[in-house]
């Protein structure tokens, strides 16, 4: 059974059709890439999966459960975490707190137990702290845990977003252009990290990326989008050589 299944998903904004009857299947423990030129509907796709938009038509199934119309925080608590194309950190909170908030879906904080500092809440707080320590060490941000998230360098901020998403202990991780603005060395490191997340933690990864080198290297399967439609799907080699993909997007890569 696929972990994530989209059936005839259509998203309209006024008269604009951002996604047009899209079918997509992501299998468990795979690294799946979504490519396409700007405005192809990739980020819209992410926003639908994470519940920021409610699709105009179609069904969204996660582990066989229908997600349509669920609020974003509910979807998160089912085990879907994401990062954002334009980084969305909690800038004026510490690095450590950013990661701790990431585990809110896993261990919701009750109002009264927080207000009164009950033992159950303290325990959850310690657990969140342990997890944030582990994740920050894994991503090499532990030394900076007390700094404001907004004071981190760009590449570190991208890493922190991944740490925060992992704190949710997701079974599906959505990465929206994780390599944007990174230099080649950082990109190599990122590829390594993505593989480790899949192999060591068993997390399925769905990513949107413009960097073809990265996509072709780490993704097992790829779907290409153009004008809200899926135009090709399959192994990197197949998509790379697909005529329509080359026409719409990879044209200059063939040179």
């Amino acid at each position: 059974m696929p972990i994530l299944k989209l059936e005839k998903i259509t998203q309209e904004f006024g008269g604009l059709r951002a996604l047009d009857s899209v079918d997509l299947e992501v299998r468990e423990r795979e690294i799946f890439g979504v490519i396409g030129p700007n405005g192809a509907g990739k980020t819209t796709l992410f926003n639908i999966i994470t519940g920021i938009y409610v699709p105009t038509e179609g069904d969204l199934l996660f582990k066989g459960k229908k997600l349509n119309g669920l609020p974003a925080h509910k979807i998160a608590s089912l085990g879907i975490a994401r990062t954002f194309q334009n980084i969305r950190l909690f800038g004026r909170l510490s690095v450590e707190d950013n990661v701790k908030i990431g585990s809110m879906a896993l261990m919701p904080a009750g109002f009264w137990s927080s207000l009164l500092g009950l033992p159950s809440e303290r325990k959850a707080g310690r657990k969140a702290e342990e997890k944030s320590r582990f994740l920050l060490k894994m991503l090499g941000l532990y030394e900076k845990r007390k700094e404001y998230a907004s004071s981190l360098a760009y590449g570190e901020q991208r890493k922190l977003e991944i740490a925060r998403a992992l704190a949710l202990e997701p079974s599906l991780l959505l990465l929206d252009e994780p390599a944007a603005g990174m230099n080649p060395a950082e990109k190599d490191e990122l590829m390594d990290l993505i593989r480790r997340i899949r192999d060591d933690m068993g997390i399925t990864i769905l990513l949107v990326e413009h960097d073809m080198h990265l996509v072709m290297n780490i993704c097992e399967r790829i779907a290409a989008f153009d004008y809200g439609r899926k135009i090709a799907e399959g192994s990197p080699d197949r998509v790379k050589n697909d005529e329509r993909v080359i026409m719409s997007y990879l044209g200059d890569l063939g040179e």
């Binding site: 998160a76 969305r88 909170l93 707190d97 109002f111 927080s114 207000l115 500092g117």
Partner: protein, 295 residues
């Protein structure tokens, strides 16, 4: 204890201290809504008036004990905060500000025509139940609970909503629910402060809770530092004492008051204590120690 204070502390200073305490409770309430959760509310005086009137009507007309009246007033304000919060907190920024201003005006006009509330004359003759020691204890209680909540994960999540709502939602934070909760808590504190206020002044009228009063409370939060408990307490104290100190300049009081606000905002745009963290202060102290050791 209060008798002792009355004997040794000048009545004028005691009065200012009580007002500072009431304003701290008010401002900490608004701080939860605007400073911490980032929802701009400009109608805090409306919730204060609900608490003030409810408590005063209960003690005046129904002979309820003060503690019960105070609690009822706070709960009534919290209830309205909750009711208003559900539809309006889907709005953001300026739109929310507009709705809260409108709500506070509705409340004011309601009391202006409310038979039981004495219409335009207001209510008078309330016993001065509010004492300095009572305000003092309540302030400590409110500060401790605020601090407890804000350092918890729940509190961090409230800050996260202010920082980035979409990201908070993606982390599994129920942003709508938490915004309503913050609004309800803030209104509760406003109601509490209102009840204390009406039973300290002994007289309340609708014009005590107008738009300017809301702005004054917002000033305390912004001036002190959004989201910082010590900052907001300082802001409340400064803005209570300042008008008193400016009595020297008599007619130009409001002019100086305004000018001082502008100057403070230029030099401390994040509020007096808005960008201060205990951790940074400790860090600074530590590095200083190292330097003295080497020299």
């Amino acid at each position: 204890m209060d008798a002792w204070f009355a004997q040794y502390v000048d009545a004028y200073y005691l009065r200012i201290m009580v007002l500072i305490g009431i304003n701290i409770i008010l401002a900490l309430g608004l701080n939860l809504i605007t400073g911490v959760t980032g929802q701009l509310s400009m109608g805090h005086a409306g919730f204060m008036s609900i608490g003030a009137y409810t408590a005063a009507i209960l003690t005046l007309h129904y002979g309820t004990s003060f503690v019960l009246a105070l609690l009822s007033g706070s709960l009534m304000a919290a209830f309205f905060g909750f009711i208003i919060g559900i539809p309006t907190l889907r709005l953001e920024g300026d739109y929310l500000a507009m709705v809260t201003i409108g709500f506070a005006e509705i409340i004011r006009v309601f009391f202006l025509n409310f038979e039981l509330g004495g219409k335009a004359v207001g209510l008078y003759g309330m016993q001065q139940y509010t004492t300095f020691s009572m305000v003092f204890i309540l302030v400590i209680l409110v500060v401790v609970l605020n601090w407890q909540l804000l350092k918890s994960r729940y509190g961090r999540a409230l800050y996260a909503i202010r920082e980035n709502e979409i990201a908070a939602e993606a982390c599994g934070v129920n942003t709508t629910g938490m915004k309503v909760a913050a609004f309800t808590m803030g209104s509760f504190l406003a109601g509490l402060a209102g009840g204390l206020y009406s039973h300290y002044m002994g007289y309340i009228a609708p014009q005590d809770f107008g738009f300017m009063r809301s702005i004054e409370i917002l000033n305390m939060v912004v001036l002190g530092g959004m989201g910082s408990i010590p900052g907001v307490m300082l802001g409340a104290a400064v803005l209570t004492v300042l008008p008193e100190m400016l009595r020297i300049v008599a007619d130009y009081r409001l002019l100086f008051y305004g000018a001082l606000l502008v100057i403070l905002m230029i030099f401390r745009p994040n509020g007096i204590m808005g960008d201060m963290r205990l951790y940074d202060l400790k860090q600074r102290l530590r590095t200083k120690e190292v330097k003295t050791c080497r020299s």
